[in-house]
């Protein structure tokens, strides 16, 4: 894949550039910013993150498993302790809860990884180390014939550096 990458010093010019690129429909736009900025998010206007579903499913699975293991184990070899019910659900709520948190949290992380494509084994094109420092970056994926157009557009909005990569 090939495209054009532009580096910006300022936030507002980045935002404007993104909006323009989207208007021009040059191609898929990826924005790099040292820190999450909702202005950018607004400009990119991406759909709601699906991580929450992972969390929900993980949590439910966890709660179920927590209760199940406790009850199943107690009934597996029913020994009475202290005259209490062999499988007494009240204390087992603790396991339901703890395992819910555990699974929920792990599922959330899994969701994060899967959705944002990490771990990323190879550093793909269209990234520059400065984007983790002070600068914003805009990478637009476009066919070679439109690269010139993209470059000029990025420059127009004040990109301090623009180059094509593939």
């Amino acid at each position: 894949m090939s495209g054009v990458i532009g580096a910006f010093r300022e936030l507002d010019s980045t935002v404007e550039a993104i909006e323009a690129l989207k208007k021009e429909k040059l191609g898929e736009v990826t924005v790099y910013s040292p820190t999450p900025r909702h202005e950018i998010e607004h400009a990119v206007d991406a759909p709601q993150s699906p991580v929450r579903r992972f969390t929900l499913i993980g949590g439910l699975l966890g709660a179920t498993f927590g209760y199940w293991i406790a009850i199943w184990v107690s009934d597996y070899w029913p020994l009475v302790v202290g005259g209490k019910a062999v499988a007494s659900w009240v204390p087992y709520t603790i396991f339901g809860f703890e395992v819910m948190v555990l699974f929920g949290a792990l599922a959330t992380v899994l969701g994060l990884f899967i959705n944002s494509r990490v771990p990323r084994l190879t550093m793909t094109v269209g990234y520059d180390p400065r984007f983790s420092g002070g600068d914003y970056g805009v990478w637009v994926e476009c066919p070679p014939e439109r690269e010139v157009e993209a470059q000029s557009l990025l420059r127009k909005f004040g990109a301090v550096e623009v180059r094509s990569e593939s």
Partner: protein, 483 residues
């Protein structure tokens, strides 16, 4: 070392619930990177500190090996006091752990701006404290090599753990807590590691960082899911932190023993835990901000805000102490009354005195703002708090056991050198990890600090962005992002 810019124009009375806790001396992103990465270069003092920590660790380890070989008898157990220093220290460290999660998760949900610069430190402290605490339940076993029988796994005995036992609850609570808090710490670290990766020259370290950063690129997609995941982790950690110490308190509350058998333990323990945790945060952060020259990141305002929290929890704990007294008197049960009388006038009266002084009386000084805003005092106070909270657990565990139902079996308790060596070892273990951490990874969350300092702008806002970086045009897509 970066030049430290004194924060002159600090507002005197910050509203800690909003973003008003600002870093006027931090001008731009580059400064953040520069100053924080500068802290990562090991110094001689650091090496000495690490050496001391490892020395204590070795002492503790040796004592433990001797204990495993010879038997628990080398520790100071004195029936009926069947639990002693180890369980006390276990509860102590678990308690320490709680402040971290409180600051990083609960305050995050409450949008308490002052958490941003101190949370990384606190969260790391949590993870290492829980790692330390987790050792003690194993360490105090008569047959530690059999500890895995407490973990449910399919086995040829057809025999599983006894899920009604508070100790098994502990296993689950502690393991969950350790997993979740370390995950939380790591997730928060990923973008910062990415920054380190990109700034790093040394190829080896660069390689390591790029592996650890999982190829993070700060892309908008990553940030979007990151914010979500961060929010949910925080949302999970919040009830978790409350549950963990409640479960720990069940170890006592579920027993018949007078002085243990009470329903106020869960809230009382959680408050105490947070109290002690904040104490430990002070102990750690105050020297750190001095040595690392981060005073303009962790400002007096931050300390002030944390001190208020400390004061509040101290009041809650004090309330619980008095409540115990009242209940003992009001219940009219002779066992209870006898026991509480013994707690104050018995052979361990001095422990109670230490406890009440350190946890109830001294923190009252924080009502005065000038004391709250004095790092020196907070540092000194934090030591008293740590001491007091250790003795709180001592007073709960030892006198209760020594004066139970059966007068014929009343006894005393005197720890031996083995107990103390292992106690010291636990501090060595904790410090070792923490020292290793602060010189390898940023103690202040780079990307989150960048969030609260104004971004570079080409022109004033016709686009609806002001220097305070508060957006006028619309509500944030995800609440987590506002800070």
């Amino acid at each position: 070392m970066a030049t430290i810019v004194r924060p002159v124009d600090e507002p005197r009375r910050p509203n800690i619930a909003t973003a008003d806790v600002q870093l006027p001396a931090v001008k731009d992103y580059e400064q953040v990177d520069r100053e924080i990465i500068a802290t990562l270069h090991p110094t001689t003092a650091w090496f000495i500190g690490l050496g001391v920590a490892i020395f204590f660790l070795i002492v503790g380890a040796a004592a433990w090996i001797y204990q495993i070989y010879a038997g628990l008898g080398v520790a100071g157990y004195n029936p009926p006091v069947m639990w002693g220093v180890y369980i006390i220290t276990f509860v102590f460290w678990v308690g320490i752990g709680h402040a971290g999660t409180l600051i990083s998760a609960i305050l995050y949900l409450f949008r308490a701006g002052f958490r941003t610069t101190i949370y990384r430190c606190a969260e790391a402290m949590t993870v290492f404290a829980v790692m330390t605490a987790g050792l003690f339940p194993i360490l105090h076993l008569g047959r530690p090599w059999k500890f895995f029988w407490l973990i449910p796994y399919p086995n040829w005995r057809y025999l599983w753990p006894q899920f009604k036992s508070p100790l098994v609850w502990d296993v689950f609570a502690i393991l969950t807590y350790l997993t979740v808090s370390s995950t939380f710490l790591y997730i928060g670290l990923i973008p910062d590691i990415a920054t380190l990766r990109d700034k790093e020259k040394n190829p080896v370290r660069k390689r390591i960082f790029s592996v650890l950063s999982l190829g993070w690129r700060n892309s908008d997609r990553e940030w979007r899911h990151f914010a979500r995941a961060y929010l949910f982790l925080a949302a999970f950690s919040t009830p978790l932190v409350l549950s963990v110490h409640s479960v720990v308190s069940f170890d006592f509350a579920m027993a018949l023993t007078p002085g243990w058998h009470t329903t106020i333990f869960p809230p009382y323990f959680v408050a105490g835990a947070i109290f002690s945790g904040i104490g430990m945060v002070f102990t750690i952060i105050i020297p750190l901000r001095k040595w690392f020259g981060l005073k303009h990141y962790v400002t007096i305002n931050h300390l002030d805000a944390a001190a208020k929290l400390c004061l509040f929890t101290s009041l809650v704990v004090g309330c619980a102490y008095m409540q115990e007294w009242f209940v003992a008197w009001y219940s009219g049960i002779e066992f209870e009354k006898e026991f509480f009388a013994n707690r104050i006038w018995g052979q361990w009266w001095w422990a109670s005195v230490i406890l009440y002084t350190c946890n109830m009386v001294l923190p009252l000084t924080l009502f005065k703002q000038s004391w709250r805003r004095s790092p020196t005092w907070l540092f000194i106070l934090s030591f008293f708090i740590n001491l007091g909270m250790w003795f709180e657990r001592f007073v709960i565990v030892v006198p209760s056991l020594s004066h139970e139902f059966e007068p014929w079996q009343w006894g005393g308790y005197m720890p031996t050198w083995v107990d103390f060596a292992i106690l010291a070892g636990s501090f060595g273990w904790f410090s070792m990890w923490f020292l290793l951490f602060i010189k390898q990874l940023p103690v202040i969350a780079i990307s989150e600090v960048k969030e609260i300092i104004p971004p570079k702008l080409r022109k004033q806002h016709d686009h609806g962005i002001d220097s305070a970086s508060r957006h006028l045009g619309y509500e944030p897509a995800t609440p987590g992002e506002a800070s």
